[in-house]
């Protein structure tokens, strides 16, 4: 009984110094963990990381307006393919852990395999964009600030009707704007 009391004292009254050290360790450890976690996250968002598997696609963007344009603003893979909102980003990153398996078994590790799978990959991404109302487009292209007088006739015709009413979303028409297209037979809007 005495022993129990001694230990109870010991644990219920830790010395001031010890609790300070513990708090400090926790604080520093927390910073280190969070920093490392975010750095790791950022590392998986770089072009170099993506092109480890998706090299052909990273090459294709170079001739498009999202890579080279008059004002020098450019988008990298993650700008369009990874949600910017933290929660959505984590969800997407967890889903992407499945893609590590594909990497391990070499699903698209040759150009031929990649071309054969392009339709599947593209369709999945179009569906994702359709489900979140093309959120990644809208991170930069905000409908509210579109000036129709600056757009071409064809753009105005589509944007002021189908897009404005929410009937269509960006990716419904803007497919293949940063990459070459897969076989488009049977895709809505294509012959």
């Amino acid at each position: 009984m005495k022993l129990v009391r001694i230990y109870w004292r010991k644990f219920s009254n830790p010395s001031k110094a010890a609790s300070g050290v513990l708090l400090g360790l926790g604080f520093v450890g927390g910073i280190l963990f969070w920093g490392a976690f975010n750095t790791g996250m950022e590392a998986t968002n770089t072009e170099a990381f993506c092109s480890a598997c998706h090299a052909p696609i990273v090459e294709e963007i170079r001739e498009t307006v999202h890579y080279s344009n008059r004002s020098g603003v450019r988008a990298i893979c993650s700008d369009c393919h990874v949600p910017h909102e933290w929660t959505d980003k984590i969800i997407r990153k967890v889903q992407a852990s499945k893609e590590l398996v594909a990497y391990a078994i070499g699903t698209i590790n040759t150009l031929e395999k990649f071309h054969a799978r392009r339709g599947y990959l593209a369709n999945r991404e179009w569906q994702r964009m359709k489900n979140n109302d093309s959120q990644e487009c809208r991170n930069c292209h905000n409908f509210d600030f579109m000036d129709f007088s600056e757009q071409g006739r064809r753009s105005v015709a589509q944007h002021s009707t189908a897009l404005a009413s929410g009937e269509k979303t960006c990716v419904d028409c803007h497919k293949g704007i940063a990459h070459r297209l897969p076989d488009m037979r049977g895709v809505e809007g294509w012959e």
């Binding site: 001739e63 307006v65 071409g152 293949g176 704007i177 070459r180 297209l181 897969p182």
Partner: protein, 164 residues
């Protein structure tokens, strides 16, 4: 004080000397080049420009294509209609043909775009197919975007009366 003045003058003189010598050499090089230019290897001309075989001509700067405007009137009968809008990034490949998304028989009604001609559905022998003939699939072999570039070569071409 005196020393520094002398050294400055000396510096100036050497500077002027090197300048004169360098210039002289440059002038010599120029005459060399003129000599070489007189012996040509032949070349080829394309429109106004003549290019020597051993020279890589600088590419012309890209022209600014109008974003979107009304169709152009043809310049002669049977002219492939000109494209009155930008086409950057419009893929035409085995997988996709962006032009047909608006200009095909089916889509032109809704889009209001110029419908492709019925000739595009015929084979070389004149047999009509159910879809665009492969020989007419690559739109931009005949149809081109337009930009205001001035005349490439002087000419006195005039439209026929019916198109004027």
């Amino acid at each position: 004080m005196k020393i520094s003045l002398i050294s400055t003058i000396a510096l100036l003189i050497t500077g002027a000397l090197t300048f004169v010598i360098a210039h002289g050499q440059e002038a010599e090089n120029e005459t060399d080049q003129v000599m070489i230019e007189n012996v040509t290897l032949g070349g080829r001309g394309f429109l106004k420009r003549h290019t020597e075989l051993d020279v890589t001509r600088k590419t012309d700067p890209f022209k600014r294509v109008p974003k979107d405007r009304h169709p152009y009137v043809s310049d002669y009968i049977y002219q492939p209609p000109l494209i009155p809008h930008k086409t950057r990034g419009y893929e035409i490949s085995i997988n996709a043909n962006k032009c047909l998304s608006c200009h095909s028989f089916r889509k032109s009604v809704e889009s209001g775009a110029t419908k492709i001609s019925v000739t595009h559905y015929a084979t070389r022998e004149g047999q009509v197919l159910s879809d665009v003939s492969p020989r007419r699939y690559f739109c931009m072999q005949c149809h081109v975007t337009q930009a205001n570039t001035g005349l490439l070569i002087e000419n006195d071409f005039k439209r026929v009366d019916s198109l004027r």
